[in-house]
Symmetry: C2
Subunit: 141 residues, 2 copies
């Protein structure tokens, strides 16, 4: 049995993260995401009513290659304040169903903007399998 990965509160509290996926052509793709954490799963919604398939690059990538990475970091010009947490995992695309609905409720709880205007695209569920953290003072970034 795989031990669930503990996701630190500093990540849960963060308002934005960056999600990297990999295309079938082996090119990386990178977007900022709003997200919510439950246990060792991270949920992120695709903004509502996408009109062009190009906008769903992250979804297309994940369907071909579910390995993704999420980074939460803190920047400050005082470099003694720097830290980051990187979460590697496998993503699932939730086009519909109870888990998607639950994720949307959690997202609306964290982001009031979503209460007023719920995303109606798919939700990405990322099952986190590995955590790597760094903070200034640690041996190496």
């Amino acid at each position: 049995m795989i031990q669930p990965v503990m996701i630190p509160e500093s990540v849960e509290r963060a308002r934005v993260a960056r999600l990297a996926t990999v295309g079938a052509d082996s090119r990386p793709h990178l977007v900022p995401i709003c997200f919510v954490v439950e246990g060792s799963v991270l949920y992120s919604a695709v903004d509502r009513k996408p009109k062009r398939s190009a906008n769903l690059k992250r979804i297309e990538n994940v369907r071909a290659n579910p390995e993704v990475t999420v980074l939460v970091d803190h920047y400050d010009d005082d470099w003694t304040q720097l830290w980051w947490v990187r979460l590697d995992g496998r993503a699932r695309v939730l086009a519909e169903g109870a888990e998607r609905e639950h994720a949307l409720e959690l997202l609306a709880g964290k982001y009031p903007q979503y209460s007023a205007d719920a995303p109606d695209g798919p939700v990405l569920a990322i099952d986190v399998e590995r955590r790597r953290s760094w903070a200034h003072g640690d041996s190496r970034p």
Copy 2:
């Protein structure tokens, strides 16, 4: 002849960006970076005196697959203020030489921290080949 990609001033001014590379195993890798822009090239230094090869994952990835993506974004809880710029390019590893020295001078000009303590690892030079930008009010993120 390839037209050089114009990198907006909002990117040049940003203090931090996120760099995605892809491993030989097709997994994405993601780190926050300090960087400087000159023309359509983006330079980023590896912090000094790396002691373990694991710390050079981005370098190892780039040597195997030079396709990288850099994201600069602005988050605000007022979502009308959101924007991001994504730069796709090919990375070169500068282990030594005049271009590396020049990049370190540019970096020290932007980040006083580097003047006091110059990085002595390799410099990544990213030749930007494509820019994608988004801001709230544009058709789609």
